[in-house]
């Protein structure tokens, strides 16, 4: 029988035969993630944006800042709204008008992690206490879905926030926030800007994640869509840059996870976080050179 036919007819046996040899169909060892790249500033119409690729999985994230009146109970805080989209271009499984089930799940996970990890202090988004604050809309679009969607989405989100450039604004007489143009900077401004100092968002610790597929005794890091569809038990570990655990998520699945397997996953994630941090730092320094 031809290999391609065998792969389609007996996908599980095809993969298990590979696992016996400690290799995966795409040539990776079990614990290795796919090649990862980050490009910052991909969307000119946004205040911050990033394109992240893990293997073929591609995510485009963009942050747009709008002004809102802060809530009475938290007059010094801005707000972050996160939305993850899976447009029909990304996968043969998504059709227009029938949104993917995975999208709202990932939106929820991302919101929980970004807001609870302490990455962004919402007070940083304040402009005029009680009157105006930034509302940061983070929209992430999956352009190509090939497994490990959450990892790629989180990476692009973190990168988009690192790229975020806050425009200089001032409060006009009607109590509205207006943009000050960059060209006539300094003395030429008719109004005193309210956020001269805060042009970059201070990011404390950055969360990074790794998803692993658990199958029998094997742990496969960063699964492709094919691996995810065949071996359905997976575990996502999120650590921050100081290696503290932010989230650990095993959404059911037919297999149970042993304590030792969870520890192995965390160990793999520690490796991966170092890798991702390096990739992000390189992307940021490339950006500053340009």
């Amino acid at each position: 029988m031809e290999v391609d036919a065998f792969r389609r007819l007996f996908p599980l046996r095809f993969h298990e035969r590979h696992l016996l040899e400690s290799i995966r169909p795409d040539g990776r060892p079990l614990g290795r993630a796919r090649d990862t790249t980050i490009a910052l500033g991909a969307v000119a119409s946004a205040n911050g944006s990033a394109l992240a690729k893990i293997g073929c999985t591609t995510m485009l994230a963009a942050v747009k800042l709008e002004v809102m009146t802060p809530k009475a109970e938290s007059p010094d805080e801005g707000c972050i709204v996160i939305d993850f989209h899976m447009p029909p271009i990304c996968s043969p499984l998504v059709r227009p008008g029938r949104p993917a089930e995975a999208a709202p799940v990932i939106t929820k996970q991302l919101t929980d992690i970004i807001l609870s990890s302490g990455m962004i202090d919402l007070k940083e988004l304040s402009l005029v206490s009680g009157k105006a604050a930034w509302m940061a809309y983070l929209d992430i679009y999956c352009l190509d879905a090939d497994g490990a969607l959450f990892d790629a989405a989180l990476l692009s989100a973190v990168a988009a926030f690192s790229h975020l450039q806050i425009p200089v604004v001032s409060l006009n007489d009607n109590g509205r926030i207006v943009l000050l143009s960059e060209e006539n900077s300094g003395a030429m401004w008719e109004k005193e800007p309210v956020n001269k100092e805060k042009r970059k968002l201070k990011l404390d610790t950055l969360p990074f994640s790794l998803t692993c597929v658990l199958h029998k005794n094997y742990i496969l890091a960063d699964p492709s869509a094919e691996e995810e569809s065949i071996m359905e038990t997976y575990l996502t570990v999120v650590l921050d840059s100081s290696m503290q655990l932010v989230s650990l998520n095993k959404p059911g699945g037919p297999g149970l996870a042993q304590t030792s397997a969870i520890q192995d996953c965390v160990a793999l994630t520690i490796q991966r976080v170092k890798e991702l941090q390096k990739i992000l730092n390189e992307a940021i320094s490339d950006m500053e050179v340009d």
Partner: protein
């Protein structure tokens, strides 16, 4: 979604202090310079690449200035269950915008009208008889809208169809034109489109010299229409050549 919106407070995008919404009077004059410094009859540089989305049967990415578009093609695959038997194939098109496509968030159109325009522009070029009973899906996502969105989507979709190996009579190239007073500008950017008196878009199959779609809106005089059509057809012909070389490059490049 409805519940979510009511929870979030009303927001607005800060605008510059001195905003000039009115169209500058120089636009119609003969000494007018376009916002990006192009000549009146000069198109934006085009960047085209096939195979942008791995999980699709075929795909293409197109970038004309700030207009950035991805098109994925899926199929031919089983038609929806409710569909009647048909001995020719079906074409299904959908165009959508990202929420950050326009300078102000969420201002982009829904894309319903563009979906039907895209369908009509491509339908005539596809050999539907070659995939009976099945459907080919053409999905477009406008990542960033910088003007002339529909022509870019159409040209990009035609590349994606070729990449998917769908049989076509010819590739489809599309170019639009805006009329601003006396001036005719080709491949307009968003700013020029917002000032325009009239627009013209031609979608054609360059090597067969056949027009699959033409739309004219606004005020035009007959000689102007003739001039604009000729300019658009010439531009389509040139764009067709660029698209052809992009496809050839993809085939000759060594597989990774």
């Amino acid at each position: 979604m409805a519940g979510k919106i009511s929870n979030t407070p009303a927001t607005y995008t800060p605008s510059p202090t001195s905003q000039n919404k009115k169209r500058p009077s120089t636009v119609t004059g003969s000494d007018w310079v376009r916002p990006d410094g192009r000549g009146l009859h000069q198109c934006r540089p085009a960047f085209l690449r096939t195979g942008a989305v791995n999980s699709a049967s075929g795909s293409a990415y197109a970038e004309f200035g700030n207009t950035k578009v991805i098109v994925s093609v899926f199929g031919p695959r089983e038609s929806k269950k409710a569909m009647m038997y048909s001995d020719i194939g079906r074409l299904n098109c959908n165009v959508s915008y990202t929420s950050f496509a326009t300078p102000i968030r969420g201002q982009a159109s829904e894309g319903k009208d563009l979906s039907s325009m895209l369908h009509k522009a491509l339908e005539g070029a596809i050999i539907l008889e070659s995939f009976p009973k099945t459907t080919v899906d053409v999905f477009a996502l406008v990542l960033e809208s910088g003007g002339s969105d529909l022509p870019v989507v159409i040209s990009c979709a035609s590349l994606a169809l070729s990449d998917a190996g769908i049989r076509l009579y010819d590739i489809v190239a599309s170019v639009s034109m805006s009329c601003l007073g006396k001036n005719l500008v080709i491949d307009p950017v968003s700013e020029e489109e917002s000032y325009q008196d009239g627009s013209l878009m031609i979608t054609c199959m360059p090597s067969r010299n056949e027009v699959t779609q033409m739309t004219v809106t606004g005020e035009w005089s007959t000689p102007k229409i003739h001039e604009a059509m000729q300019l658009c057809l010439d531009a389509c012909w040139k764009l067709g050549k660029i698209m052809r070389s992009c496809l050839k490059e993809a085939v000759s490049a060594p597989e990774e």
